[in-house]
Point group: C2
Chain length 882, copies 2
Amino acid sequence: MAKYVYFFGGRKAEGNGKMKDLLGGKGAGLAEMTNSGATVPPGFTITTEACDYFYRHQQSLPSGLKQEMEKNIRKLEKIMNREFDDSANPLLVSVRSGAKFSMPGMMDTILNLGLNDKTIKGLIKKNNNERFAWDAYRRLIQMFGNVVMGIEKNKFERLLDKKKEERKVKFDSELSEEDLKNLVEEFRKVYRKETGEDFPQDSLRQLTMARDAVFKSWSNPRAITYRKLNKIPDNLGTAVNVQVMVFGNMGNDCGTGVGFTRNPSTGEKKFYGEYLLNAQGEDVVAGVRTPSPIENLKKEMPEVYQELKDITTKLEKHYQDTQDFEFTVENGKLFMLQTRTGKRTAFAAVKIAVDMVKEGLISKEEALMRLAPAQIDQLLHPILDPKVKVDVIARGLPASPGAASGTITFTAEEAVEKSKKGPVILVRQETCPDDIHGMDAAKGILTARGGMTSHAAVVARGMGKPCVTGCEVLQISEEDKEIIVDGKTIKEGAWLTIDGGTGRVISGKVPTVKPSLSGDFGVLMKWADKIRKLGVRANADIPRDAKTAINFGAEGIGLCRTEHMFFAPERLPIVRRMILADTEKERQKSLDELLPLQREDFLGLFKEMKGYPVIIRTIDPPLHEFLPRREELMVEIALMKERKEPEAKIEKKEELLARVNQLHEMNPMLGHRGCRLGITYPEITEMQVRAIMEAACELAKKGKTVLPEIMIPLVGHINEFKNQKAIAVKVAKSVMKNYGVKIKYLVGTMIEIPRGAITADEIATEAEFFSFGTNDLTQMGFGFSRDDAGKFIQDYLSKGILKSDPFQTIDQDGIGKLIEMGIKQGRKTRKNLEIGICGEHGGDPESVKFCHQIGMDYVSCSPFRVPIARLAAAQAVLEEKI
Amino acid sequence: MAKYVYFFGGRKAEGNGKMKDLLGGKGAGLAEMTNSGATVPPGFTITTEACDYFYRHQQSLPSGLKQEMEKNIRKLEKIMNREFDDSANPLLVSVRSGAKFSMPGMMDTILNLGLNDKTIKGLIKKNNNERFAWDAYRRLIQMFGNVVMGIEKNKFERLLDKKKEERKVKFDSELSEEDLKNLVEEFRKVYRKETGEDFPQDSLRQLTMARDAVFKSWSNPRAITYRKLNKIPDNLGTAVNVQVMVFGNMGNDCGTGVGFTRNPSTGEKKFYGEYLLNAQGEDVVAGVRTPSPIENLKKEMPEVYQELKDITTKLEKHYQDTQDFEFTVENGKLFMLQTRTGKRTAFAAVKIAVDMVKEGLISKEEALMRLAPAQIDQLLHPILDPKVKVDVIARGLPASPGAASGTITFTAEEAVEKSKKGPVILVRQETCPDDIHGMDAAKGILTARGGMTSHAAVVARGMGKPCVTGCEVLQISEEDKEIIVDGKTIKEGAWLTIDGGTGRVISGKVPTVKPSLSGDFGVLMKWADKIRKLGVRANADIPRDAKTAINFGAEGIGLCRTEHMFFAPERLPIVRRMILADTEKERQKSLDELLPLQREDFLGLFKEMKGYPVIIRTIDPPLHEFLPRREELMVEIALMKERKEPEAKIEKKEELLARVNQLHEMNPMLGHRGCRLGITYPEITEMQVRAIMEAACELAKKGKTVLPEIMIPLVGHINEFKNQKAIAVKVAKSVMKNYGVKIKYLVGTMIEIPRGAITADEIATEAEFFSFGTNDLTQMGFGFSRDDAGKFIQDYLSKGILKSDPFQTIDQDGIGKLIEMGIKQGRKTRKNLEIGICGEHGGDPESVKFCHQIGMDYVSCSPFRVPIARLAAAQAVLEEKI
């Protein structure tokens, strides 16, 4: 028979730290801690396999599980010398979820299980602390009622607040034992009223119900959202950890805390954490009271502090990674409740990885594998422009680095709504898992309560968003939608800036600057560069972006979109004249005006790129993008007519509308764009190639190296490419002759039309390089309009039809096959064909790895994602060795 | 050394009838006729290889050609006992083009070459007919000037017309020898003025220049257009035929004519043709004079008639096909000028093919191969509704069958323009090759002059368009844009109907009916059915179309578009309510109203299809197609505001606009449509499947056989299909349970998204059939919006980037590969997967053959193309055996 329950306790555990799949992260950690000699409250873990069974069998559990659980309870009773439902010496336990991957705040926890009318007496007697016992009991009813039975939290909270008002006190801890006893009675009434039954008095029944609630919580909407955001598979399931209760809230020789072996924000190798005396663990995490830094524990409980430090150092060494731990001190005795790999900021991750290599703990390769490439994005987060004077109105804890400005919103819903119109800062007393979507939508998060490990802080770091927590000087009224600070009132909608790196809260909007990369990060990047085989280029249209790209380590430009230059206000009128031209001659006139402007653009790019290859794409978007909008013209004309404005004026507008109508397309993405424009209007291609080659020749004449690569977009048929290449080669030759220089240049194409990938062998007979335009290839391969698909892709993700948005991560099973086909076919005809990618996917780590696997030469991405691509490319090589 | 010149004459030819590639159709025919004993004016053919050389070498010819030509001229002189430039007995020749495939009227011809100031004397003396000689000379200068030197025709015509006015005569033939001699002088002046040189007096020089003009004419725009329309490769080239002149215009014992061994309009086995006494061949073809039927020749020249009949009968037997011949009678002696396979109407083609099988001339297989599937379309051409009384205003020759109504236009350009707005009839004195594009645009062609073999008649038959020629009672003024008939004036733009089957010209618009198929055609179709392996189904949405399909031999419905039913005026409001519904409940209400209507639709279809499979596709188009247009709403609202209409009214409109905006898509073809709708709104799929299954079960309960195949559109990912299949199967089971019957049904998918084809192996694990939606597959595979691509596809065709419109004929090299991949992958997973095609390509013969080659089970096309598909499918089998 399958084993569903694993015991730990008495310095020995049935499981171990490697069994995360089966026991979950928390369960494996508890087993490992137990085995490694730490004092861990004993308990047992019900496996994720049981959870899997639960979901496969209409929420029922395997037949043997009941006996197995009871056997383990007996074992616990024996070790602890306490018993379930024993009025003299009752056994109390906690029940916690624990999945393979940590999902903070997502799963529900219940404490103090085993308390009932009978056992409370034993608890009172044992600790001689009636107040504590009643408080524990009311917490149990409250948590159990909420988590297991689904009773709204505020049904209980209201009664608690009322009691505090009656007693005219501020904190729970100021209530008397009588008050709490009273509350227990009232809570039980609520329980009865809401559920139609009495609060269960049988400990085993409490445990069974709690266990099932944990299993069910795997599928609650918050958990599903978190998994979706973090790409955790839905079928892993959670384990259930049942553990003997230890109490941090039985007096001032008790306490509870959390910590990290290294600073999760900076990576500094310094014991780091927070604790609260006389408190339960949830008080720390929930941020209701602001905890003390762990250094204070050294003074308050020096032995406990030393033991904690020794144990966690040992654990770090064992796991070869920073540990995030939880502990409780019960009457002066330290209990380890949890250890797991510590989450950290990207900045900290880099420092820790480099430090650990220096310390000889891990190899360079291991260090590189430790970083999630997506996380690096955080390092590129803006900081406040140091040259700007700022109006600091408050200081909180620097919970997640980066700076952000936005208008103030007070609820998650509003944050989601208003973020559509502009950046917002979500301001809350404290956040809870229900706020996730609002945090996701906001540019930054500010809370009045909670520490560095509060929900807000943990989640914001995970998301790579600036966050300031524990800013207690702010009086936040979510009801009145205002913040009062220093007597001043700041209303909803006002601009606010937070600096998650320093904890500053600043009034108004402050300009930010992007940081440069150096120090540990530079070291890591150099390691990555030595290992990776994939080249990394950047998509850059203007010299400034090219410069950023070079600074971030780009080895060329993979895509310069020439048409972006057409949108500049001084150029748009010329472009419009070009489009509206009735004759080729008129069109040529506008093109002649554009030529010197484009030449300047390219000159700037070539200068910045210092001889690195620069791929310049000829015009791509449909022409009507440059014209006034059709429907607006229609409205305008209708109104002019209604107002009987002069005929001549109306006629002129109507002529414009007629031309716009002519260019109007039902499906512009599949319309007259890309090389199709160049084929219909060869003079546009001519002008662009001339500008490219003139700029290149000008520099070449001055002895500079230039390597232009002319890219023809949207090629689906070899003949399209031939047509455009002929123009390019003709112009290039004539320009080089005029300048009297010869330079190396390539003419290649984007493979972004499915037919282009399918007939890549033919196309490669003429094209000297391929660049996969995976945005369009995804668009056409899936038949998803990028502009419109958002509407149903969300639906597809939530219904599990797609695992991820194919516009974010290459769909390897489908579009990926097209790309592979394109590469294989292309190289069949032209062995040394240069192959890269220039879609958004070029900056997506998973996609970068895929590009490596299928043998591309380089990826090209936005300048700020170049470091991400460099790291991902190195990891791709390392992963092959595993 | 290569041989470039082939002689024929003296009952012996160097070439033969099989050498069409090298000698062109005409040259091979002349050789064959010569070899078979017919009296053919001797001559020689310069090969298509010379033409090829000409184009490959900057319009120069191989070095030996000059001598070869001169050698052949000497040979001719010897046989004829005449000599070039001999003032006593001059050798005159014609020069004609002749490509492998007949291109009537496309290439240029020059007659009377060898005439000059010296040789005209010999000609006069020899025939003792000065008038004839001067007429021949002025014709030569005119033709040579126009064709070789590019002088505008009317530069000569004007002088001719002026002369006729001076002399107050109507016909050229009424001019005197003096007049003609005079004209020769005037024509030479024109020649000198336009070219800067004198008309060449050296016969060999004339011949050389004419030969090169023929080669050049291969590339004139008319020829290119014709080849494009008829899909003739551009690289075949033309041969040049140089042949001794015989004259049909030397008096009343002379004449010229054209004919067919069988009636090209009806296929009747009856000697058929027309001739003109005392005329040159071009007079017949150009339709300037209306010729006599060939029967008259029996009376006028009984011996010539008999000889002609004998020779052509022999030729038909030799070629095993109807011959189209040209002849000239010179002083009572018959000369055969040309024989070739006779063009014919589809109706005639069918009859001739079946007759020839009966006559033992050809096999059934050969008969099937004789028909161009596209031509069959003509058999399905409408005839005038026999129940309607018509106002016949004139009668002409029934030149090409079918009836058509349209507004009158007088020029090709206008026909092209106006045909964009509605059907037009092109009305001309006579047509010429310059009119091709107008004829292509018009629904029918009517000419006042010309016979059954005039340019208008030949081209119209080729195009399968109704045509009435030689309707001489019409006074057509192309200048004043009117027709005068019987004293009444009919203006441009008025409606006119022509009946090409009877030659009637009818005032106004007349309803037409489609003919049914029977007789010889039925016989042929049965032969085709025995041979073909591909099934043929029809695309039909309503019972009436299903009935037509069955009549035309369809073996099932390959595509029923359910949404077409939604556009019915009484249903559209319900559909709109469904779309605009805010809640699922509201939506369900509308769906409940639609259910019984859809059930009725399907009931009708199933009844008509009598147990044949019926593929019904669930809703496909984006929802906004059913809503009012966005820009119109915007204009409406702007005007309402301007007019200060009541707020409430405006608000209601604005609400509607808001919803329309919400559904608006940038690229609807790639948007929220197909199965994406069914996934977002499962209740729509549910309703549709319910309607299908209820209709099927109702009939099944009555003992009828039904075979519904439910088709999910736009599937690109297996999970999309799974989602929709689950709904379909659930509903189907529940309906069958309710009705207490079990029926066979399939759930399959369209493969129309590139990703669908690429991942067909996965999809086939669930899908029970595939139907390739090649419209969308082409659209997305090429990235061509079907709605917009017309703009540049024309450009692509004319620039040679594409060989044919991929929406008309499957692009085998690209989209075809995707389809092959889909089939191979699909069958890999599911061996007995039913595979078909339901795009427009299902009715395109070339595409049908491709579908056979790649192993599809069936094609589905519009009902009227079912016979075409049946024939093409049979030919596909026969072509494999070759």
